[in-house]
Symmetry: C2
Subunit: 283 residues, 2 copies
Amino acid sequence: MALGKEWFTEVCEEHGSAFSLKVKQKLHEEQTEFQKIEVYDTTQFGKLMIIDGFTMVSTRDNFLYHEMMSHPVLYTHPAPNRVLIIGGGDCGTLKEVLKHPEVKLAQQVEIDERVTRLSEQYFPELCDSNNDPRAALHFVDGLKWVKDAEAGYYDVIIIDSTDPIGPAEGLFNEAFYRDCRKALGENGILVQQSESPLYHVKLIKAMRDAMGKAGFEQFRTLDFPQPLYPSGWWSATMASKQGVLDHFREEESQNKSFATLYYSSERHKVSMVEVPLLAAVLD
Amino acid sequence: MALGKEWFTEVCEEHGSAFSLKVKQKLHEEQTEFQKIEVYDTTQFGKLMIIDGFTMVSTRDNFLYHEMMSHPVLYTHPAPNRVLIIGGGDCGTLKEVLKHPEVKLAQQVEIDERVTRLSEQYFPELCDSNNDPRAALHFVDGLKWVKDAEAGYYDVIIIDSTDPIGPAEGLFNEAFYRDCRKALGENGILVQQSESPLYHVKLIKAMRDAMGKAGFEQFRTLDFPQPLYPSGWWSATMASKQGVLDHFREEESQNKSFATLYYSSERHKVSMVEVPLLAAVLD
């Protein structure tokens, strides 16, 4: 059947699939200096933000992505005091990061301030930690920010970006990873959203190769469901300067003081071992 | 954007979402005694079988469902010699079940023989164990089969059915679960596909309540990605007559003689603990 005008559809031409959400109305549309942002009110997924035609975040299912971009890396680092988020303008990752008492500073460096302003308006629940004294929001180019960073300053860098086309393209290459590595302390870990384990195995492999060339030593690609994104199955790839990815602070994860809907210490543990489909290609 | 006629779309009206696959052509369409079956050739997902408008199985992503419907329950039972599959006419679950050397008999009881004949034609890779001497294919009503079964005969019953509407409706209620329980041996385990953890929490809870009323003692709902099904996130619920769900044959799972793309002993272990989203509702 053909879907009518009351649906927003994202087509993934390369893999011959599409995902659609039924919408009540378009709440906002603007062309910023960087990209086109739309916000819809959907019938069942709450609010929906679209950037350049691609689904970014919905009220209903964002917990999966935001929990998995933050808690595994933060419970893996032995003492995550200083965290840098590149992108992440909807502030959902920042909110999860700030739930960790070990975090003393969480900087969010988003190139497009409008993403954050629209998130404050339409996804206020993701932004309610923005005034935490440990949070610092900067609206500048993340590439330049990392290049200029003091060597060894950060414990964790989270790259919460759009797909590797358009403004985010430079966030998926060796030169950038080299700058990240320099900006990370001894036990430093980088984590980056790495697309679909079913659709983008080659991209994941290329990312890991580039991270390796940049000097990172260990890698793990975690996978998790994500209805909004192509194939409904998504991933994040961790890379560490030293061999710190074999363990995590399991007891602290088990006794965490905040509730989650997807992340748990058990899921963290299984993330330590890649899904066979990926392991076969990545090893 | 609106999708043209070259797409097959399944709409989930209740949750305001839809998933589409791009098709090259329709290969087959028939109205059987029980349901309407269509088969498409897609551009990127291989063959696609549709029953009464709902996606059933694709070449590309069926491994997720079939592995998770079979290996967790089979490695949880201490000695799965006799396995009954209700539904499962595409034979993909049967194929996975037969990979276990402990299995001496695997009966597949599918009400609609045409599902299997079409699978043999369009999904031959799922049917290549159908001539295994341990396999027995019966094309009769699964409800009646279970009611008439010898008490205590089966070790594992796998309910690999369509959604709880239409021909499969009777497979989701207390009376049927009671018959299953009677047909299972002392350490017997039932596993049933149980829809989306994001969309169908109430259904999962109702299933588990009905299983409990039928006398089952322990329950576990495993979740896994499944691009083809609504929300891209799916589940299977295990129920045991006795407390056998706290452990599994981990060493045998680790040393299994066959390859998998999703299942692993690590993923099995994490399946022992429900995703927090479900745990909060089910406990």
